[in-house]
């Protein structure tokens, strides 16, 4: 029964990782590089939500919507001003630039927020028990948001014109451009979408965690672990990767000390990559 409790906790952890990683993976597919600054967008959204909720005294939902909007806008501006002009320089230059952007965003958050810890003006989580297994309303919310965000993104990519253009660019940008896809417009739509998803993850972070100015960036290693495990496949490989890493990390506490929890994430990644060098998707980068 105790092991089952760890697995349930792992599902919630995995769902948070899915939310934090789907936007990151989308950028990786379409723009072709690892955007390290993605984690700081979680912070932008989390602290915007906190500021509107606690300082201005607004209810959580409108605060969260504005928080997501702030992350989306800042992500779009960064994509337009920083990454778009150097897009042709290649993934290594873009990756290094994204580290610089992460530091700038981190510094701005530090300056704006200052010292100490912050929490939203919401009630402490309520626990429910189902057949002896405990789950909180915050964990249920994380799971629900992960399901809704994944399903909505999947539908958007499959059904909408912009979604199809994004998928075409992810597979082969040159071919997509030659077939009439507006590369700049599609790239900007990708930044807007991935930053909004980072914003949603930031709101979840603000709900479940205690905010310090470092906490958002501290999630980058696990985001990378999930993205690498997923490889360059579909959205569903990201979902599977998030769940595998989340459950592996939490269930490992049943057998080994919790201090080794982060190592488990990378242990899983290494084991999977030994057998499937291109991640769960099995697709190579073009």
């Amino acid at each position: 029964m105790l092991l089952l409790q760890y697995i349930v906790s792992g599902v919630a952890t995995g769902c948070f990782l899915i939310l934090a990683t789907i936007g990151f993976s989308l950028t990786r597919h379409v723009e072709g590089f690892l955007n390290i600054a993605h984690a700081q967008l979680l912070g932008v959204s989390a602290f915007s939500t906190w500021w509107i909720n606690v300082v201005l005294g607004w209810p959580l939902i409108p605060s969260a919507i504005i928080g997501i909007f702030c992350a989306a806008l800042i992500g779009l501006v960064i994509g337009r001003v920083v990454y778009e002009p150097i897009r042709s320089a290649g993934p290594a230059i873009l990756l290094i630039s994204s580290v610089g952007v992460a530091h700038i965003l981190g510094g701005l958050i530090d300056t704006a927020i200052g010292t100490g810890i912050r929490t939203l003006n919401i009630d402490i989580a309520t626990s429910y028990r189902f057949w002896g297994i405990r789950i909180t309303d915050h964990q249920l919310l994380v799971v629900a948001l992960a399901v809704i965000a994944s399903a909505s993104l999947s539908l958007f990519l499959a059904k909408s014109r912009t979604g199809l253009a994004i998928r075409a660019m992810a597979v082969n940008p040159s071919l997509a451009a030659s077939r009439g896809v507006d590369v700049k417009r599609t790239s900007r739509a990708t930044w807007l979408l991935s930053s909004s998803l980072a914003g949603l993850a930031g709101v979840v972070l603000a709900i479940i965690a205690t905010l310090s100015t470092e906490i958002a960036f501290e999630q980058i290693l696990q985001i990378l672990a999930v993205a690498i495990l997923a490889g360059l496949g579909s959205l569903f490989t990201v979902i599977w990767s998030g769940l595998i890493i989340g459950i592996a990390m939490d269930a490992s506490v049943f057998w080994i000390p919790a201090g080794y929890r982060p190592l488990i994430a990378f242990g899983v990644v290494i084991i999977v990559l030994v057998f499937r060098p291109d991640g769960l998707s099995g697709r190579r980068s073009s």
Binding site: Q5, A12, G116, A125, I208, V253
Partner: protein, 421 residues
Amino acid sequence: MTIALKAETKKYQRFFKTMGFCLGIFAMTLVSTMILPMRSAHAEKQVTVGVLVPLTGELGEFGTVVARSIELGVKQINTAGGTTCGKIRLVTRDTHGNPERGIREATKMIESEGAVAVIGPESGVMVALVDLAKRKKTVIMSPYAGTITLNKLGGDFVYRTVSSDLGDGDASGMWLTEKGYKKVAFLVQNEESTISPAQVAKKIVEKSGMKLTDFVIFNPGQPSYQAELISVLAHNPDAIYLAGGQQSGVTVIKEATSGGFAGEWLFTADLAVPEVFDNVGAEHINGRAYVEFADADRSLPEFKAFEKLYREEEGKEPGPFASNSFDMINLVALAIEASGQCSGSGINSAIRDVADGGSVVTTFAEGKAALAKGMNINFEGASGPLKFDKSGGVSGAYSIQAAKNGKWANEKFYPASVFKN
């Protein structure tokens, strides 16, 4: 003819204008080279001390208190006429809680600003600075770095006005034993500064016959600690000893409370801040949470004098480690005065002497006057006696405070005399 004359006149005018301009520049240069040395000769002599503290991030609240207390000390020292090397000039930098950044800033302070001492770093940064301090012969000192790593590395150029973390462990263990709990769980952040005291407290708890249900080491920076809490909550302990930072600690407290934990808490020093009540919700910890931290003996007249000064200047009670920080700058100033040298080596050679073995002085002004008379002095600070041991640390006292009405209130005081470490 007239035109030729006019042209010639213009040439001469231009020549004299240019010559005049050049002479003007020359004269200004001459005057300024004469005046500047005169001005610097009249400028006050100063000695620079670096204040290297975490001003941002999770430990920012502590760093701000430390920096402000040092400024209060400097104000008093400079009002008393400053040191033999002149008035103290502070250069303050932020460590961001990052040892690498700490080394960079300390190097700049020493090499560019000429700092003779760098004071205020937290445990991780202090350990990282040991090599630099010894190489550059510059004193480093901390008011809150309790890490036991410094028990081996400290002593020469490396000092602290707080006792080792082992004392924290003793005090926590004593408190848990006195409370008479039957079952206790330990939740400890994965850092040397929290694990060391927790190990000491664990030994005391086990020796007392109490049942230790869990000893969980968790990593900071996680959004949630539900997995770490599963086993702890399943064993239903009477109390949880929580040694964590503010960010992780508050999340643990909230998640344990929502998970049905109804027992008591003992927190360590990082949670001895009022922000815990705002972020957890006072109603969840009032009457059932305690916090243990290194503290000054508040009954001492030196502490009362400092408390009065702090209230007057800051309009509030001294925060954690404020008195230790105030003492730190006084010790540096007295060591400069005693050695008569404006260097880290001078401070290092005299700092132990001014803290032990002479006439008791309680302020810089008293110490300066006594030293001028050729007397040996023993500086007794606001945080208590400051006799440095072999590793450059002091023996300290500890307080337990209880969560009452949304505030931390004094519950128990353990004087330095009750500890072996």
